[in-house]
Symmetry: D2
């Protein structure tokens, strides 16, 4: 599917990339070509570490844009598909660093990320001067900052670039990247990230990409629980759910959770609540992100009163059979009726 | 100021009135005339009880539309202005009921409202059969239901019609009314409420008007505190507040409190946070509405986990010097720095 | 079982009755005889309304002390046992009031209590001047105050005297009564209450009996949840539960929930946690009392931050299958493990 | 001041040391002499790192028991007093480790502790095989475990032994030590800790000392806030504070915060609430310990619903002028009245 790439947001002061379905006579894609679609001959290989649910489709989008890959995953099976497609699979993060000077990492936790960078066979063992290391994992911003310091000591550049958008957006190349790092290097990061996402937002110094993601997801969790509580209370007070949703959405209670992702079955189509809370963004992942928000708040001494409680609620939901359901299932969790 | 009145929302299943600024050649006001602006000669007087900050401009808008008023307020001073304008001032709610068969009440608390209806000289002492009694106070929906029963015993009709929109909207006639009561009487209520508000939404049986308002305001309080927490955490993690607001507003954290009424000074113009949290919707009023939500939740055994905590937070803010500030000042409340 | 009755606490400023197992040569019971055990011949009948789980054994203890009873319950079956034992059963609260000038009421909710006092055939319809009406129901203190006013208008006396101790204590006559009302009438109340309980505590004006009970139970709920959280966290951090309980109990974390009623199975014998959380004080009852605390806090504008959250948690537990378990089952509720 | 030392708790299965004020004719001190007061000649030096408010009096108690000290503090001024008393001051933790094979560390945060052990001139640089390293800092148990691993690699032994009791108890040698580590080494740790504290409790594997302290203090914070809420609500409902405290203390609401450290001025003597919340255990320190509980709970996925909220409340209090007051000042924080 053809798409246009444009640098947007200059006027609004928000510097990010947005790729939208191309209008018929739009010539803008030419710019995108310059940045992302050079002929394969001219492209140097990109390292990719972590080929899980998210990393796999992200790496494939880099391939589609003509980048040869140097691949590593702790589970060899995750690499097979790429090997068969002709990409080079190596046996450690250090080996990736030896063969590529631009590396993207996509790992599940802070601990895995530290291991991949600073471990016995980690990237830092063989990283080349001037390399660009982009970490798209969602981790503690304090860890991102520490990694950046170690990377800088080796004469290389580190950027944190966590994503929002889930597996679907990873497949369609419509992720949003929130990027933290030295501003001069942002254009270089964009070249790669723009192949995997439709929004690439520069957030500030190293760690601010993580910070932006954490803050957004904390507010999302709070609004979702709030929406579920308000809808449930209204229903018990005799309101029709669809009508209540409409009233909220034209009033000051309006939020993404009420108008785009309503948690009450029957109110909207095409959202997880319409499909028994399958798919979407899992409760476990939300609990993980809220744990990061909690850690960041504790270390910066920032009060997050509702955020803390949201964290504890999703924690409990994970233990009560909701771990694999979409996070909007909090409505179902609250909804269960008292029986006597 | 000319304005157009249209019946909207039929297609969407949401039945409400909306009056919008009139486009240049719009003839629609004619409909409004039919409903709200008949010649004074043809109009029967309307009773109005409670001429406070909200009731005063609401009553004036009825006058502008040509309704003679029968006025009562427990504070005689509140009636002077209307007396001087030629409206009839009487000395008890019962007297209002004797002279008018359509009455609007706008009172601060459940207790005041019960007194005005069921007190020694209350409306019910002299209410005429077939009267339409519309209560625009924000009170416990359980109280609305009880009043409705008593009114019904007298052969009259009761509707709850709390407003959202504040003093400014009351003045400009742009309030939103959320109306609960018998559906057949809604058109009659609209005739009057349409003179004071631009949205008149039918919510269902008696009490659902209050329910809708309470649910909206509870979700609003939760989203506002959540926005304040997320913005504060982001700032402490190094993000620029304007940039963070933009990221939230294009992401799943988006809500009315983040995109229309941002609580962080410097992010938006024309909102209370740009004016030292003056004006707007006071913390005391929010605490009151959350108290109603709490009571309704307790009596219906609905869990409102974040809603309860939001209530307690606004309760504390009232005691810590924030009672007269806009409710978005929760950002300032959280923002205070630890000092050692 | 013989027991001694003594007026205690004068020195300590706390005026309450305590009946303890009688030491061998203790002559104190003589006082008890004067107050509670006069010969049956000299005793005037006592009214008793509400013969449920608690009221039934309470009424029997009055019988044991020689008081003839005038009985009423909305469910005739609840009266049979007493009728067969020769007590007089009547057909309304008004009839009780006609035949007895001391009445004890023991009802499940505020609504039932208001009905029994102020209903069409309520006590107030036929109450005699000078009657002593003691309400042992646990209800909103604001309702107690209103009832007291109405009772006073009729020339009678009202006292609130809620109990703590459960069905077991009701059977053994070891309830604690917390009494609010005019101090001069406390001795008269004691005469009756001392037959049903081992502690009768004077708390102050009408409503303070309820207030004391509500405050105690709110603190109890908070400490219990806190104990469950601390024990669970400690266990997950590798501590032996019995050892942790001992450390808490010799330290500043010590509380009734940790040292007398520990919620962790295996730590103590003879408590509900040792018996699959059967018996004890049900989660539903705790949720009810927390609802009263919530209502009182809202109406007095008192912040109860942890109290609110405790309320919501017990509310949720009622909906998640814990309604009939002892309230210490919150440990089990928190304990459920996340599974992936 | 003479004191007796006894091994207690064997019967109860709880293995800890307790030293109590000596009864007149008590010969027990002889045992203490064997363990803690050998003649100076026979004693090898003990290292002590961190001579702050707590470390200073702790080190002095070791001196009183005849242990020569090897001293280091990052602030040279903190060492002067000891130098003047003839103790040996060195210039790095490594130097301490070179000269002493038993070292006690008492530091403010996890970061400081890691630096002292693993830093460029840290203990581990020169630690001797078989050394016993006891860390009395209150830190994250996960950090204790990591340090233990590193220490073990060097052939030495690490134990965590955080204290409770504050500066007063440190001076009088009445601290409680909660000790985690290999059980065989507990006796060796006792020899030193028994000179500084009256209770030395063995908690289990490394990290459990920290875990026990964290769990106790979390429960303490929860009970204290609960007590403050219950007392405040009761007072607003018309109860006398002293009477309410007595009722709670003879009922199921009883806890250390209500019966030993009541937060309401006028209820008890000799506690911080009787002295404008001066002295005692500062709000800042409580907030720090709750931060550790939060971190531990997040990493072990343990729900701490009230614990999280208590953390956030103490966090807010630190920002609202309560940072230097005793943590029982939460009563004052809640007590502030709403004004309109």
């Amino acid at each position: 599917m053809a798409a246009s790439l444009r640098l947007r947001g200059a006027a609004s002061g928000l510097w990010y990339w947005s790729r939208r379905p191309r209008p018929a006579a739009d010539l803008a894609p030419l710019r995108g070509v310059l940045l992302c679609s050079r002929s394969m001959a001219s492209k140097t290989p990109v390292g990719f570490i972590g080929l899980g649910n998210m990393g796999n489709p992200m790496a494939k989008n880099l391939m589609k844009h003509g980048y040869p890959l140097i691949i590593y995953d702790v589970f060899p099976d995750a690499c097979k598909e790429f090997q068969e497609a002709g990409e080079q699979v190596v046996s450690s993060p250090a080996d990736v660093a030896e063969k590529a000077d631009r590396i993207i990492t996509m790992l599940p936790t802070s601990i895995n990320t530290v291991e991949v960078y600073s471990g016995v066979n980690g990237i830092l063992k063989k990283v080349k001067k001037g390399s660009l290391l982009i970490d798209s994992s969602t981790i503690d911003p304090a860890v991102s900052k520490e990694l950046a310091k170690e990377v800088e000591k080796m004469g290389a550049v580190f950027m944190d670039a966590p994503v929002s958008g889930g597996v679907g957006a990873a497949r369609s190349g419509n992720l949003t990247f929130m990027v933290g790092g030295v501003e001069e290097e942002f254009a270089a990061a964009q070249e790669l990230l723009g192949c995997m996402g439709s929004n690439v937002v520069y957030c500030g110094a190293v760690g601010t990409g993580q910070a932006a993601k954490i803050c957004n997801n904390m507010l999302l969790a709070i609004s979702m629980i709030g929406t579920a509580e308000a809808m449930n209370l209204g229903i018990r007070l005799g309101l029709d759910p669809k009508l209540l949703a409409k009233i909220l959405n034209m009033s000051s209670g309006r939020c993404w959770s009420s108008d785009t992702y309503n948690p009450v079955p029957g109110v909207m189509d095409g959202v997880p609540s319409a499909n028994n809370y399958q798919g979407g963004f899992g409760t476990t992942l939300m609990a993980k992100d809220l744990g990061l928000a909690q850690d960041s708040a504790t270390s910066t001494k920032s009060p997050i009163i509702l955020g803390s409680l949201a964290h504890q609620l999703y924690r409990m939901m994970c233990a009560k059979g909701y771990s694999k359901k979409d996070f909007s299932s909090v409505f179902q969790f609250l909804r269960e009726e008292e029986t006597f």
